[in-house]
């Protein structure tokens, strides 16, 4: 079959069409081959950019106040499934503390929820939480994430930062009391509260911090929604509110916040993470959930910050928070060792499976004691500590006194099928 007759002019025309088409296809093929050849690397900017000197500190101690953001993966992910998936706005879930009286999954809103508790914030949190226990979706599943950073400065003084404020008023208040955070806040010993991002398990326990220190400086990421800003006000915050713009912002000598403008599940946007440069050791990455990815966080540091080396990690790395998996997470397990971290205190949304894979891969994971609701000693649990540039006991002194049975997870919290092992 042909599309032309056999006259000489048509032959010439067909020849020209074929030549044009063949040349175009050839050019396209060459373009494709070049695009993934080693030659392409010549197009990338390899020039050293000017790096920021953020200073240095003598040491850093991190106390894990709570890494247990929820107790049952099945309940949490069941709610997410029932509400319509991972893109549904978190304020819609009817989760505590924004329960409306109808208590129906995915039919809530900030406005409908806050009106029931606004008058109780921040000084009558027990009553506010009691309302949640009666009306919210799975109120017993709420825990929360918070960590205390104690930074020994080069002049011998100490600065303290509170990273995040948990979720459940009840859970996080008891965790604060267990670790003495309540007293530190009330005495003005904590210099600032850094909110890593707007997620329920990091931010919705905000009134607990306000109960003890309403004047404290608060840092939130750019990308907070209207509901988030209103919640800061409704919680009784009277101090300075700093909205961190994308990029590096030195906080004080040796410590900087880096804001990543990234979309996150349940309609959250933007995350603050911390760099702490420990003199003689290297840079420590401290994160709430590290949605930007720990490799991205490390690469950003290598590109933008003066340091000796990458030294340590503390916090959630958001790999398999629900013990779910995706093969792309194995790419991290393959490559994290290349960055030379000496101490990895990954917990929370890193996921047990990920940490087990890290350990199987030979990475220097600091393991914990699995107390106060933490499920597995494979990573740092609630009440555990980690030191960077200094040695610290694994259990915080106050939690060691209370251990092992000061608090236990709610009765409804269940075993979701713990990971039994790990490949590698």
């Amino acid at each position: 079959m042909t599309d032309s007759s056999q006259s000489p002019s048509n032959d010439r025309r067909a020849f020209l069409r074929g030549a044009v088409g063949g040349t175009a296809l050839g050019a396209l093929g060459m373009m494709g081959a070049y695009s993934y050849s080693p030659l392409r690397h010549g197009h990338f900017d390899t020039a050293e950019s000017e790096k920021t000197d953020i200073g240095a500190v003598r040491s850093l101690k991190v106390t894990n106040i709570s890494e247990t953001s929820w107790f049952s993966n099945a309940d949490l992910i069941g709610d997410i499934r029932g509400a319509g998936g991972l893109l549904v706005n978190q304020y819609k879930f009817n989760w505590p503390p924004f329960a409306d009286k109808n208590g129906a999954l995915a039919e809530g809103s900030y406005a409908d929820g806050i009106k029931h508790i606004k008058d109780d914030l921040p000084n009558n949190l027990e009553r506010a939480w009691a309302f949640q226990m009666e009306n919210a979706v799975h109120p017993e599943n709420a825990g929360g994430y918070a960590a205390l950073l104690e930074i020994e400065m080069r002049d011998g003084s100490t600065k303290k930062l509170l990273l995040d404020s948990g979720w459940s008023y009840d859970w996080i208040d008891k965790a604060f009391q267990r670790e003495g955070i309540d007293t530190m806040l009330a005495n003005g010993e904590i210099d600032a509260l850094i909110i890593s991002h707007e997620h329920f398990d990091h931010f919705w326990g905000f009134p607990v911090s306000m109960k003890y220190a309403p004047e404290i400086d608060v840092y939130v990421p750019d990308g907070f929604y209207e509901e988030g800003f209103q919640y800061v006000k409704d919680s009784g915050h009277r101090g300075k509110l700093h909205v961190m713009k994308p990029g590096l912002t030195p906080l004080f000598d040796g410590v900087a916040i880096y804001n990543f403008a990234i979309p996150i599940i349940t309609r959250v946007y933007g995350e603050n993470s911390l760099y702490v440069n420990v003199e003689g050791k290297g840079l420590v990455s401290v994160t709430g959930c590290c949605h930007q990815g720990i490799i991205r966080f490390a690469e950003t540091a290598l590109k933008e910050i003066q340091m000796e080396k990458l030294y340590g990690i503390y916090g959630g790395l958001h790999i398999s928070p629900f013990d779910d998996w995706d093969p792309k997470y194995d790419d991290l397990v393959f490559t994290l060792g290349d960055y030379g971290f000496e101490k990895i205190g990954a917990n929370h949304c890193t996921g047990l499976l990920t940490v087990k894979k890290f350990i199987a891969r030979g990475l220097p994971v600091v393991q914990g004691t699995a107390r106060f609701g933490s499920k597995d000693p494979v990573y740092l649990g609630n009440g555990d500590q980690i030191g960077f540039g200094r040695e610290v006991p694994l259990m915080s002194p106050v939690s060691a006194e209370a251990a092992p049975a000061a608090y236990s997870p709610p009765a409804s919290g269940g075993d979701d099928g713990a990971v039994q092992g790990a490949t590698y």
Binding site: M1, I77, R81, D326, K328, D331
Partner: protein, 437 residues
Amino acid sequence: MPSSETVERYGDGYLEERNLVQRWPTPIPQILNLVLLGALFYATWWIFQDPRGWMRLYTPYVGYMYCRWLLIILIWMVYIFNYWPFRRAWLERTHPVIKAVLLSAIAVAIMAVVIKGFFEGLLGNYGMAYFNPEQMQKLGITDFFAEEYAALAILMFAALASWLSPAWIVGMEGAPWQRERQPVRGLTILLVTFFLATIIFFMTMHPHMGILYEQWQSFAAIAPPWWHEFADTVSGNFHVSWIMCCTVVVWLVETIWERYPFRVIRHDWARRFATFFGIIAIAFACHFFLYFAQELWWGEAVRGTRRLYAPDWRWLHVGETMIFFLLPALFITFYLNNWPRKGSPTYRVAVRTLVTLVAAIVIYWLYYNTSHLFLGTQRGFSHPQQFPMIPTIWLINIMLINHWFMDNWPGWKIAPQTSAEAAKDETVLDPALKPAE
């Protein structure tokens, strides 16, 4: 063989032969249909997909699976089976809205049988557990991820089929079964392309599924997957990328390129192989080039990281970017009568390609700057649960229903072909090569 006068042709040649005429002067029909498409898209998006809407299937994989399968079943019904068992007279005389409702309902019913019956029921219960959420739930995976993982596996089959099935018609011209009657032709091509899709699935997505679970399924799948050093990731997104490129290139060749340049090859089998494999070659060129373009724009990918800089996301984004080219290409063909119609083939193809490129860039920019305002998705590029392929394929499905089942109603209608037009059609194109609109 019986003569064509006595044999029911069903929809064989229907798309090529129907004489669509605009009811009103340009651009009224185009605007009218655009409004209709937009309204249908948004209403159905809200009902089925939107995370703020009614059924909220955009979890994301469950909704993604349904829209991918609907696409391939539409293609099967029209391109492979030529509307069989619906008679030609019924296609020509039935009101477009009735045809759309009936044929779409049949497509949805077939989709349910394929997903629930074949994949979840048959393969998932008697072959591979990862096709069936309940089987995975028994193994301890939470309900949500069991559904997501199964949906991912099932939708990847659809992705492969939505490349291979039309590629066999466009590239291989349906040969060697092009002269068989329906449903023999349809069934044969369906089985052959499904067989090919199965082979490629086992070589591409099965190793991905093999390391999705703990422990790695090393006895059942190659682990880590064979491509991981070349692609810089173990993720099957590397394959999603080139498969999507193949899918889009098939339709570019079929629509705005009028099957050029391959159609100038005179020898039948040389032309068929050149087209089939040429499409793959062009797709691989796009696959690598669009990855490179991202490296130029955002910087080099870094293995192990997440989001914008992750190789797995970059590969996925190649596929996502390609789908933006398909939208304007289909619009040009379906609603602008493949403008321009005059000039040499080189000129026509060049103009349409240029317009498609520019329009795709504009749509891409609009999507990433505005979609979070009306689709219920998250703003930003690399949200791990954001798949632009879902709304774009959803819209393409609606365009296909409008063009294939509704004869472009309401802006167009079928009119009897004049003898001059029929004669022109006979002389301009070989029927086997004639673009199917």
